[in-house]
């Protein structure tokens, strides 16, 4: 099991990268009123056949030739179910894959969100050819980082440039703090 939900997000997004996605949408939606956190990871990658989809949640199904299968999805699903949450995955060959987990915020067995800023920053700066649309919502507040917007402003300066990379980290950290008021999640 992974110690933070943000590590599950990093792990699942790496599946999307390996599936040749060019756009990965990551949403972290927190509602204290409804006492839940919803995490969505959607991609426009290769997708999976129905047959593969039936096996993908099983940790012991592994065909060493397909790198899409392993412990990533079973871990994330187990995290959700361990705190009476829900988990769903849908996929279509040639269209992409979407994964959604909803967990009760106040459940004692819910893993903390952890360092989501590092997860998103790592994904963006290590995969400069892939676009990420990240949205973080806390009750009525939210912020978004769409690398397509950033790219349009920056071109041709790459995300890996020191100043840009620092800006992205600060953008994520400061806007998150303003959105959730530094709540412990």
């Amino acid at each position: 099991m992974l110690a933070e939900l943000s590590l599950n997000i990093l792990d699942i997004a790496n599946n999307s990268i390996r599936a040749n996605a060019t756009l990965i949408t990551i949403q972290v939606l927190i509602s204290t009123k409804k006492d839940r956190i919803t995490i969505r990871i959607l991609d426009n990658g290769d997708g999976m056949s129905e047959e593969m989809l039936t096996h993908v949640e099983d940790p012991f199904y592994t065909t060493r030739t397909t790198r899409k299968i392993g412990l990533g999805i079973p871990f994330f699903k187990a995290q959700a179910l361990a705190c009476d949450g829900s988990f769903s995955i849908s996929s279509k060959l040639g269209t992409g894959t979407s994964i959604e987990a909803t967990l009760p915020l106040s459940h004692i067995d819910r893993m903390p969100l952890g360092d989501i800023t590092s997860t998103i920053h790592t994904l963006i700066t290590c995969n400069p050819s892939i676009d990420f649309d990240y949205k973080y919502t806390y009750d009525d507040n939210s912020f978004e980082l769409d690398t397509r917007t950033f790219r349009a402003i920056l071109a041709p300066i790459p995300f890996t440039t020191k100043e840009v990379s620092n800006y992205i980290r600060e953008y994520l950290a400061e806007n998150k703090a303003e959105t959730d008021g530094n709540a412990l999640i």
């Binding site: 792990d11 590092s118 290590c126 920056l154």
Partner: protein, 123 residues
């Protein structure tokens, strides 16, 4: 909220410098294993430490990137250093502290830190 005007300002500033840099210089590639096994054993802070240090020290000939599982899960976090014309060096059981040591010794001075390599660990 942090504004995008700040990003526009960075672009203006950087664009003036862009011509000075020699892009596409075939340099050192540093790769961090980022599959479930790597992430579970702490690869994310290792990668952050590496890319921050490489940027901080202005090592423009070094690119830090991530890869999937390379099949040595019990030795994660794994960092591979690839340099044209040299054998690949595989560092195992990395921590952010060890990673910074590798930046100073290997990436800057060109000296392999043999006690952190896979052959160093296995004797």
């Amino acid at each position: 909220m942090k504004s995008l005007d700040e990003l526009r300002a960075i672009r203006e500033k950087m664009q003036k410098q862009v011509g000075l840099r020699s892009e596409g210089d075939a340099g050192i590639r540093v790769v961090v294993g980022m599959a479930t096994c790597g992430i579970a054993s702490g690869a994310r802070p290792v990668l952050t430490a590496l890319s921050d240090a490489v940027q901080e020290k202005g090592l423009t000939n070094v690119t830090v990137t991530q890869t999937g599982c390379i099949g040595l899960c019990q030795y994660e976090p794994i960092v591979e250093v690839m340099e044209p014309g040299k054998d690949k060096v595989t560092y195992v059981k990395m921590t952010p502290e060890k990673a910074l040591h590798i930046v100073d010794q290997h990436l800057i001075r060109g000296q392999v830190v043999s006690e952190y390599t896979i052959s160093g660990i296995m004797g």
